[in-house]
Subunit: 331 residues, 2 copies
Amino acid sequence: MQQRLHVIYHVHSEARTIEARARAIAVEQSVEMPIAAIEDGLVRSQIVGEVEAIREQTVGLFEVRIGLAQETVGQDPGQLLNMLFGNSSLQPDVVLHDVDLPPELIKFFAGPRQGIDGLRRRVGAYSRALTCSALKPQGLSPQGLAELASRFALGGLDYIKDDHGLADQVYSPFKSRLEAVVEALARNRLQHGRSVRYVPSLSGDLDSMRDQVAIATAVGLDTVMVAPMIAGLSNFHRLVRENPDLAFLAHPGMAGAARIAPALLLGKLFRILGADAVVFPNYGGRFGYTLDTCRLLARRAREEQGGLQPALPVPAGGMTTARVPEMLDFY
Amino acid sequence: MQQRLHVIYHVHSEARTIEARARAIAVEQSVEMPIAAIEDGLVRSQIVGEVEAIREQTVGLFEVRIGLAQETVGQDPGQLLNMLFGNSSLQPDVVLHDVDLPPELIKFFAGPRQGIDGLRRRVGAYSRALTCSALKPQGLSPQGLAELASRFALGGLDYIKDDHGLADQVYSPFKSRLEAVVEALARNRLQHGRSVRYVPSLSGDLDSMRDQVAIATAVGLDTVMVAPMIAGLSNFHRLVRENPDLAFLAHPGMAGAARIAPALLLGKLFRILGADAVVFPNYGGRFGYTLDTCRLLARRAREEQGGLQPALPVPAGGMTTARVPEMLDFY
């Protein structure tokens, strides 16, 4: 029996078009091409997403359940996100609402290694709400943050975490900050006998985060914070697998990325970070980008920008050969 | 002279409240705490975000320009995204519209290493639009995809890229796929003398992507695709820095993540990937999450889910001590 992910989307649609729209999402999140053009029988029967149910919630809003083949995801968290919403995240009428994962995939990801019990045990608090506050503002020195941490600890907090803005800045380098805070808390613990945990925020690429984990564990810390949507889900999960004894606090930073202007994110930022070409959904195709959005995005990718080389704009997404002349003219 | 990032947000607001709202965004994206509580003079003058301009665009929609200190970003792309929109991405009235980066930051990121020229040179096409199509559907074997690639090449395409859904699946492992496609294209090139480039899609964590880069370069490829919002911007940039001779194609997958239900992304997925605690914006605070959203998120984090340990829900975001009893009751 083939394993499937059951994905729930909320779709704004008219009643007369919802069935076609649901099938389009099932295709978008699986084979991403017209079914009629698929020659392989196994792909048609096993890999193509399947609309399992459509239910009207209110007038114009439907709950659509789609089954996706587990094989398309493999065991990679980034690829999971990709298959759940990679392309549909760009379509304005769809909300990714929920998913049921096959048991063996959940078993592989394996969830919290410490969980609520481990977090309670760390601070010796078993039957009440835990408390946590953030070291801030951004800009204080390690000593300034350490003094603040001491005051937090004296006030009785269980967990003291970095503000998610604290990274490895010149005014408060990661290593100096951790050493200063840990020393201040150790002093405090000696005086008052309280358990308190400091939770540094990890940032940067996977190697940087690994270096930071090494620094944290070297000074005796056992709990860290990551923003998975910034780190990338695959890297977050890699850290979790590599450090089963650490507790991970997930920060929601960037969990609302849809509202970044495409011309900025794709046309400017990806280029500045080194993209030689940027793929984006063409206007008038399957996605909601307007003509003006595409024009601006293509301009951003190529216009003068600090002496950088231009990046190649690559309009994509259900285009037809009939539109090629128009697109050549437009771009 | 201190370097600043100049960030443009589009904000839905009434005219009488826009000044306060703009200041709130400037604070949210810098020190994230009440200015009055900041004792350090340098932090107040240098680090706190500054509202530089407010301009009404249409009734109820304002363009707000905010200056952020470059020191808060350092040189990390993930931290850049964090400071630009990390928290504000969770607020429904704000769109991150544009940013001007300080020249030295742009110089460090350094943009495309190959750019349009390098991409044209690869395929020997200097004065026309380049062509590119994607190998699909998902589910075909390496041989099936290689045959398709041959047909694409015979049809005259410049670039043949993996569908962004192709990763390292059992039905088409990355290494086997690359070897099969490269062999098919090499055969074709011998017969027809055309330049054509195959662009494999990288996936997984940074180490996996590095392994894939090694496989790609070993079979003679010089162009790859990454979805930076899935890989994490820092990891994407790391790959770019490590491989200055490769051309990188950026895929927009997940560039529209705001429309993922918070209960799913934060409450369920982060947990399944190993978060021991999930921070989320509490209802009635500075963010737009409703009471029902928070209830569901907290339930997802703790309910039975494939035998996993529960994750600790951590409501956060501008809460007051006066609300503690209510919150204890609610959660």
